[in-house]
Symmetry: C2
DNA sequence: ATAATAAGTGAACGAGAGGTCACTTAAGTT
DNA sequence: AACTTAAGTGACCTCTCGTTCACTTATTAT
């Protein structure tokens, strides 16, 4: 309970900021959740704002590692069913992983106040997923699994509805199962609409 | 500068809450923006929370009036071009009307804290638009403008990407023009994909 | 005109915020 | 074992918050 305190503070801060927002979080509670008294935190960070900035650094770095490099792109699916199940695997991860959920929430809450949060929010909510699926859908076009079209447009048309339902899960967790079912239904709808015709 | 003070307080509160959030807003600033001293506000509302609740009442009532009744549904378009231009009219209104923008922002910021904000957020961001376009797309199917399919699924597939770009405008206003162009491009893409084939 | 009520003022209050500091305790180095 | 540094404590500081209250000024009704 010594050297990793800095990391533990950041983890607790993510949780608290994501529940109550930056302004709604106070240092005493944050410290108490770690078993410290509030002045103890100032041995690790010089201010509340410094905690916020370090947390954002960590979120940005994590995003870069996780989604920034080409090597982390999932393989191009081999069939419509494969496409749906890959989607569902990604969706389940992103909805169930508490760390990711809290990251989305905190970005949602602070996007108008902090420029870096704003930029990261756009990546998380819009451009990141779209870029990823632009690559995937382009690969599927090459394999002849879906009709040739603008892959960026298709990726946007595919990911934005999914993203909307992920937001719904963050907002109303009790609707998670419905939302997941709806995502799967949408995924199948999409692959039917854009898939090549099976002239039986 | 007397009887309408209550309304003016709510208007100023919407602006301030949407910029800084509920916690980030303080009564002194709020009063000052109306040319009052802070204690003056307490002649009209008994607490900060009462202002928040009254504002939510107003937002809920406004939403009900504006989008809740069937009579406010736009007419079913007569052509693909009509569909696109109706969409663009609605989008421009919703992006340019400061009142609506601020409402979305405040719902975004307070959705995890307040249950009524949460419910209204879901209507604003997801179900409201979807229901509206379910009706419109069903009408267009009847007119033979688009192929027959599940209108609710199509409405969701159509409105969620538009909603995502509206959120982008709220977050990064400098990208508004790009976003609007992208919405129009998406709208045309959609009507092409789902439109009935023109066998020339 | 006058009485009654509503709207607005300014000083004050208690609570809780973020932050500092002298101090104690634990860990690591030589 | 002695010394140095890091980690954690508790009392205290200042500031700002939301709120109250006795008071003055407008407004309205009769």
């Amino acid at each position: 309970m010594a050297k990793d305190t800095k990391e533990r503070i950041l983890t607790a801060a993510l949780e608290m900021f994501s529940h109550k927002g930056y302004e709604g979080t106070n240092i005493r509670e944050l410290s108490a959740s770690l078993g410290l008294v509030k002045s103890g935190i100032y041995k690790h960070f010089e201010s509340k704002e410094a905690i916020w900035n370090a947390l954002l650094d960590r979120m940005i770095a994590y995003y870069g590692e996780r989604f920034g490099s080409a090597e982390h792109l999932p393989p191009v699916p081999d069939s419509p069913e494969d496409f749906v199940s890959m989607t569902m695997r990604m969706v389940n991860l992103t909805i169930r992983d508490e760390q990711i959920v809290m990251t989305r929430k905190v970005l949602t809450l602070e996007q108008y106040r902090d420029e870096r949060a704003r930029d990261l929010a756009t990546k998380h909510f819009l451009t990141g997923l779209t870029e990823m699926f632009t690559h995937i859908l382009a690969g599927m076009m090459d394999k002849g699994l879906i009709r040739r079209d603008d892959p960026a447009m298709l990726a946007f048309a595919y990911t934005a509805p999914i993203s909307a339902l992920i937001h719904l899960c963050d907002r109303e967790p009790e609707r998670t199962e419905d939302a997941i079912a709806k995502i799967e239904a949408f995924s199948r709808h999409f692959i039917t609409v854009y898939g090549v015709k099976h002239d039986v």
